[in-house]
């Protein structure tokens, strides 16, 4: 470890500070980075990720957009095709439904359709909202819907350090990447290494080692999984917590290794249960570890209803550490 890195180890950064650092390191190095988004240069500055960057790097390359997600996604694709690395930022994934044609029919297919003649190095970044009565149109996690699309990678970091490393990898990728965050993650602070580093796609990480149950968590559910596992530890239940980090591709190897050991699985997702990424992973584990699994897999995910506004309904709609806790307990019933 270099001196700089050691020193870096001491620095606590928030999630968005870490992302800002990733972006700025790239901006400094390379003139072919473009950032765009509605409100990217305003006070909010994409939750701080782009704070003040336009002052240093100019509004040519860091530009605010009209409210026209369909066309602007096409524009982002064209920019990417012309040789820029483009980061198109959205405050919420809910608005991306307007951009589906460009993302699915164009960004994800152009390299293939053209026999490899063009690349679309485009990162589409968006932050899922939760709570505070945001209701049905301002609260959606769209990774389950996008998961089926060939040609698209989906990245969902949970820690500041991972956000920084995965954002670099995403920006360096030649293909379109959907970079999905979650507001609940923004509360975190963590030691984040200095300098540029990438984290490979398709590699999950153990956030906690354990022997009784594997909890596979996506995005904000990692926070809940860790909280639950701490409570469970007190009761003598040892949970292994996997942070999936990238949803497409996902880390099949890590899942197999962990579940082969624990033989019991909870999967926690931030989106609706039917057709979810959790279901895809659950199916994968059943298939791979059919003979080894001791119990049915428990899935913790949202009920199949649009998000209700009322906070009393949000309380039962959203899943949390409790939901994971009880899922683990159900899996451990026969052991206790």
């Amino acid at each position: 470890m270099s001196e700089a890195d050691k020193k870096g180890k001491e620095r606590f950064l928030s999630y968005t500070e870490a992302e800002k650092e990733a972006v700025e390191l790239m901006l400094k190095k390379s003139p072919d980075i473009v950032l765009m988004g509605q409100g990217i240069n305003d006070e909010n500055a994409m939750f701080g990720v782009t704070d003040g960057l336009y002052k240093k790097y100019g509004t040519d390359r860091i530009f605010d957009t009209p409210l026209a997600e369909t066309g602007l996604t096409g524009i982002a694709i064209g920019l990417a095709m012309s040789g820029y690395k483009v980061l198109y930022m959205h405050n919420r994934p809910d608005f991306l439904y307007l951009a589906m044609d460009q993302i699915i029919n164009h960004a994800a297919k152009y390299s293939y359709m053209s026999g490899g003649q063009v690349n679309i190095p485009l990162v589409v970044w968006a932050v899922t909202g939760q709570g505070w009565g945001s209701a049905a149109q301002h609260s959606q996690s769209i990774h389950g819907i996008m998961m089926q699309v060939p040609g698209l990678k989906i990245v969902m970091p949970t820690t500041p350090a991972d956000a920084k490393g995965l954002l670099k990898t995403a920006m360096d990728d030649k293909s379109p990447v959907l970079f999905l965050e979650h507001r609940r993650l923004f509360g975190q602070e963590q030691v984040v290494p200095e300098g540029e580093y990438g984290i490979p796609f398709g590699k999950g990480v153990l956030r906690r080692e354990g022997t009784d149950v594997t909890v596979i968590a996506i995005s904000a559910m990692v926070i809940d999984a860790i909280e639950a596992s701490e409570r469970l530890q007190e009761e003598g239940i040892s949970t292994e917590v996997i942070d999936l980090r990238t949803v497409k591709p996902y880390d099949r190897e890590l899942l197999i290794t962990s579940v082969s050991k624990t033989k019991r699985v909870v999967i926690a997702d931030t989106s609706w249960i039917t057709g979810s990424v959790a279901k895809e992973i659950s199916e994968f584990i059943y298939r791979e570890l059919f003979e080894i699994l001791e119990k049915r897999i428990e899935i913790v995910a949202l009920p199949d209803v649009p998000t209700p506004a009322a906070y009393v309904l949000e309380d039962i709609y959203y899943q949390n550490a409790d939901s994971i806790y009880y899922a683990v307990k159900r899996l451990m019933e026969d052991k206790e």
Partner: protein
């Protein structure tokens, strides 16, 4: 305009302003009760009131994230609105919509969409329904300058014109989309210029209730006569921040000077002054109304406070209509 008529309009505007002010006052109180993102309407009251003044109950209004004013101006139930902000099951959406989705179909208020421009095409379809039914009802959609950038607005305008649909497009040009000023987003200085070859458009002072009421009256009459869609652009300003309760003043873009200039032109204040200029009797009438209004608003908040929360099972209801 007759001063008594103006007084009626003043009251409607003042009522909206006052509801927003009370919401703002209570929004961050201890033991917060309103867990819902708010986009207040202060500064733009003349648009909602002046337009809706010309609509009947059978006419329908479509709105956006900034829907409180439209909802109230069209006759949406105040108690149910506050209850909705309080997450109560007596709310106009039974607590499922919150501040951005107010709806009162009995009063002709369709569900508001928090997807910018989302309702513009839906309102156009509703207008087509009215036309097919052969009634003389108007579909009226309120949207912002930012919304006009969405392709679906163009698509809707072209289609409405093609089919001569009874729809009133009302663009509230407050020159900002959140904090992005018009110049950074728009090729032209007004919104309606973009569409003026496709349908009749006018650019008007959106802070003068007489101007709004008059222009909307004419437009609604034409639409009822089967002349097809009309686009009215009202230049106005929100004296609040985009969301939450601040004034949205900000060194970089929305300067204090700008804000002060527009505050001078606050539509409620303008109407009040005009009334008093007209006759001193309004000083007292306005004061009286203030009392009446505070009572109504207090009752609405009390109703909201006392109402029950939705029960757990209700989460599963209303998905399938």
């Amino acid at each position: 305009m007759e001063s008594d008529k103006l007084y009626e309009l003043y009251k409607k505007m003042r009522r909206i302003a006052c509801v927003e002010d009370v919401i703002a006052d209570k929004y961050y109180e201890k033991n917060r009760k309103m867990h819902t993102p708010i986009h207040l309407y202060n500064g733009q009251e003349a648009v909602a009131v002046g337009v809706c003044e010309n609509l009947d109950r059978e006419d329908i209004v479509f709105s956006n994230h900034r829907c409180h004013g439209h909802y109230l101006a069209k006759g949406g139930n105040l108690k149910k609105m506050v209850a909705e902000l309080y997450s109560k099951n007596t709310g106009c959406c039974k607590g499922k919509g919150g501040s951005m989705h107010l709806c009162d179909m009995e009063a002709g208020v369709a569900p508001a969409s928090a997807i910018v421009a989302g309702n513009v095409s839906i309102a156009t379809g509703y207008a087509m329904g009215n036309k097919l039914k052969g009634n003389y009802n108007v579909s009226c959609v309120f949207f912002g300058d930012g919304a006009s950038e969405e392709g679906s607005v163009y698509e809707s305008i072209c289609f409405a014109r093609l089919k001569k649909l009874p729809i009133l497009f009302v663009c509230e040009n407050n020159r900002y989309a959140i904090n992005t000023p018009l110049e950074e987003r728009e090729p032209l200085n007004t919104i309606s210029e973009k569409f003026s070859n496709i349908l009749p458009v006018s650019v008007l002072d959106g802070n003068d209730i007489e101007v709004v009421t008059g222009s909307a009256k004419e437009a609604v009459a034409q639409i009822r006569n089967g002349k097809g869609p009309i686009f009215l652009e009202y230049i106005t300003y929100r004296t609040r921040a985009h969301h939450n309760i601040g004034d949205g003043v900000n060194e970089k873009i929305r300067t204090q000077e700008e804000w002060n200039m527009w505050k001078e032109k606050d539509p409620v204040e303008l109407a009040r002054k005009s009334l008093i200029r007209h006759s001193r009797k309004y000083v007292r009438l306005i004061d009286l109304y203030e009392e009446e209004l505070m009572k109504e608003i207090e009752e609405a908040f009390a109703f909201a406070e006392e109402s029950p929360f939705p029960k757990k099972e209700e989460m599963w209801e209303d998905i399938w209509g």
